[in-house]
């Protein structure tokens, strides 16, 4: 079982629809999910953004920051649906995820055991101490 982290802490995954890999995008039905990896070009999704129920951006390793730019780009292109960072994401990166436009983070049980809920909730104040918000209108508040 994976764990979904939001500003309220840990929860079970409540997204019950199929999540397609980017190369299987033709099979997408309204409200279903799409998954992309760091090396993918999410540009192909732009015409479909209104139909997608969830975009899951994979983080194979926490040190690969491409997912943050993908999230920003998808929001810039008007994606208003659910956006999830999934994989090796640290509690220390939770605020970066939220500020980049992610709604939630998906982690496995081992990581959740090592970095329990309180370590994530410690960063749930991501709207505070945020230079970017001072420099421009908040991204998707």
């Amino acid at each position: 079982m994976t764990i979904i982290v939001t500003d309220r802490g840990f929860a079970a995954d409540d997204f019950a629809r199929p999540i397609h890999p980017l190369e299987g995008v033709e099979a997408l039905k309204d409200g279903e999910g799409i998954e992309i990896g760091p090396a993918d070009d999410p540009g192909a999704l732009i015409p479909l953004l209104g139909r997608i129920g969830l975009i899951r951006i994979r983080f194979p390793v926490f040190a690969d920051g491409r997912g943050f730019s993908h999230a920003r780009d998808l929001r810039r292109c008007g994606y208003a649906g659910r956006l999830r960072a999934a994989g090796h994401v640290l509690a220390d990166q939770y605020a970066m995820c939220r500020r980049s436009g992610f709604d939630e983070v998906e982690i496995d049980e081992a990581l959740a055991a090592r970095q329990p809920q309180d370590q994530w909730l410690a960063r749930a104040n991501w709207r505070d101490h945020w230079y970017q918000a001072r420099l421009r209108a908040p991204l998707c508040a």
């Binding site: 220390d92 990166q93 101490h129 970017q132 421009r136």
Partner: protein, 555 residues
């Protein structure tokens, strides 16, 4: 000078609180060593050869008196009584204990300082002309923009895990003292034909194992577009930069492999898309920051006593000849305090010396100090009538070396004495060269000459842009020093060219001496500098000085 507002203050306190928790979470196993590493790096904490090293940011090289005093306190309380000023306007403490680091960061926060993003694969401390706001040749003061960039880059959510480190430098003067062409992004404040302020934007410069000079990606960027454009460059780099090989991961390689035109097209596409996110709050903030950098109230005073003292005292006169730079205000000078006394470690200052410099800045320097990328300390605003008093205090503190810009004003990385990456020593080489020229007593005759020494191919000593560059390598367990000639980090930037086979440690000082004596023999006249002579005659005569039969016989 910039003073933290409530937001900045709360930010650094929160950041220290987070780091304190990260140290605890590393110890309790919540964070693995691999996970902790980038987190400590983005808070300035390295693991070096013998101990941890804390690198503290001195944004755009500007320090207040209370900040310099706090650095002295930290050196005494938590380190071994000294600090090392670096080529990127930081100060490094070489011996802190991990458990003390959060307390050190709190002590820094008390005076509006931090160690954020002085390391790691993120946007590093933004550097600027160390004579900013004072130099006679300046078009505009780059420090407010550097502060804006500091705030923009700090904890930027998209750019904390870039392919590699990212360095930005800015100058507001046509005479480039910030080495902008050797940075990932170099910014030059200019005006267009209509007189409007903006930037020439350079991208893809860097030294290291693959030295490249930055290229112009935008010849005129309107001032108000700076942050969105820089953000577009960073976004393009974050996605296109290589992550398969750390030695190919800097933006210079991204630009080189994709081609400047293709990279520019990508940047412009992103810029067009994200520009509308910027609605003017950044401009309002910049206007507020600019108020912090209002020039001090300059005074007028007679210069008779200064001139008389200068005429009567050759040592003082020699110091004023080398260590002063023209100031924009009448009667004023910019003073460079050399941290390069022959035999000392370039860039090191003791706690006592830091306090003396702070006292002088308080008494005579409108409360301001600067750190130069050449590892010296600058008093940017000094009335010449105060120079005799300053010089006498500096002499008492062993800080009155009259060698700025000369042979013994050497830039050197920490090298194998401290650094885990180094393949050779650099500090002892710098010390030995400085001592040799002190004995020869010819450095004032030689004139401007920049020697830069790196102890490995990562080039922290900037040897590629030294008039004489020295690179220390490891050849089968033996230190070997390669010489490059003709490098230049200014507006006439060029990369030094390799001369030929390297020299063992015991021969490198003699090799440098032969180059310098050779220059003296062939220069057109005393006005022709070393670099001008190299550019006029090329490398061949100098190869003769280095490797010729005369030299071999003499050795």
């Amino acid at each position: 000078m910039y003073r933290y507002n409530d937001f900045d203050e709360a930010f650094v306190r929160e950041r220290v609180r987070q780091f304190r928790a990260q140290v605890e979470r590393r110890i309790d196993g919540s964070l693995t060593e691999d996970e902790f590493r980038p987190l400590r790096l983005m808070n300035g904490l390295y693991l070096q050869l013998h101990a941890y090293m804390l690198r503290v940011a001195i944004p755009y090289g500007t320090l207040r008196v209370d900040q310099m005093r706090r650095l002295a306190d930290i050196a005494e309380r938590w380190d071994r009584g000294y600090g090392h000023f670096t080529t990127r306007q930081n100060i490094q403490f070489n011996w802190p204990r991990l458990k003390d680091v959060p307390d050190i960061l709190d002590a820094l926060a008390d005076v509006g300082m931090h160690a954020i993003q002085t390391s790691g694969n993120c946007v590093r401390n933004v550097t600027a002309d160390h004579f900013a706001g004072a130099a006679a040749d300046e078009i505009a003061d780059p420090r407010p923009v550097a502060e804006l960039l500091r705030q923009w880059s700090t904890d930027h959510p998209e750019f904390q895990f870039l392919p590699r480190k990212f360095k930005i430098a800015i100058t507001g003067s046509p005479n480039d003292r910030a080495v902008t062409r050797a940075h990932d992004i170099g910014l030059r404040m200019i005006r267009n034909a209509a007189g409007e302020p903006g930037y020439e934007v350079l991208v893809g410069g860097g030294l290291g194992r693959t030295p490249m000079l930055g290229q112009v990606i935008r010849d005129f960027l309107p001032a108000e577009d700076l942050l969105p454009y820089v953000e577009a460059i960073l976004g393009a780099y974050n996605l296109k930069g290589r992550r398969d090989n750390k030695y190919k991961a800097r933006i210079k390689i991204t630009v080189f492999e994709n081609g400047l035109d293709a990279f520019r097209a990508e940047v412009e596409k992103r810029f067009a898309r994200l520009r509308s996110e910027w609605k003017g709050a950044d401009r309002a903030l910049l206007a507020e920051i600019e108020r912090h950098f209002a020039p001090p109230a300059f005074r007028e005073a007679p210069l008779d006593e200064y001139e008389a003292f200068r005429a009567a005292n050759p040592a003082f006169r020699a110091w004023t000849d080398t260590n002063l730079h023209p100031h924009r205000a009448p009667g004023y000078a910019i003073v460079t305090i050399s941290l390069k006394k022959p035999g000392a470690t370039p860039g090191d200052a003791t706690a006592h010396q830091m306090r003396v410099m702070a006292d002088l800045a308080e008494a005579y320097g409108h409360g301001e100090l600067r750190v130069s990328h050449e590892q010296n300390i600058v008093l940017p605003h000094v009335h010449r009538s105060d120079l005799p008093a300053i010089w006498q205090r500096l002499r008492e503190a062993d800080l009155a070396t009259a060698n700025v810009g000369l042979v013994s004003d050497i830039i050197a990385c920490p090298g194998m004495d401290y650094c885990a990456l180094a393949t050779a020593r650099s500090i002892p080489v710098a010390q030995a060269i400085a001592r040799r020229f002190e004995e020869l007593d010819i450095e004032h005759e030689v004139g401007p000459l920049k020697i830069k020494i790196s102890g490995c191919i990562n080039a922290c000593g900037h040897h590629h842009v030294g008039h004489i560059g020295i690179l220390g390598l490891d050849r089968a367990g033996v230190e070997n020093y390669q010489i490059t000639l003709g490098g230049d980090g200014t507006e006439t930037a060029s990369l030094g060219e390799k001369m030929g086979p390297g020299f063992p440690a015991e021969e490198i000082v003699g090799a440098v001496e032969r180059l310098v004596l050779g220059y003296l023999a062939i220069r057109r006249d005393a006005e022709e500098t070393f670099l001008q002579t190299v550019r006029r005659v090329g490398l061949e005569p100098f190869k003769g000085f280095l490797y010729g039969t005369e030299a071999r016989d003499a050795a």
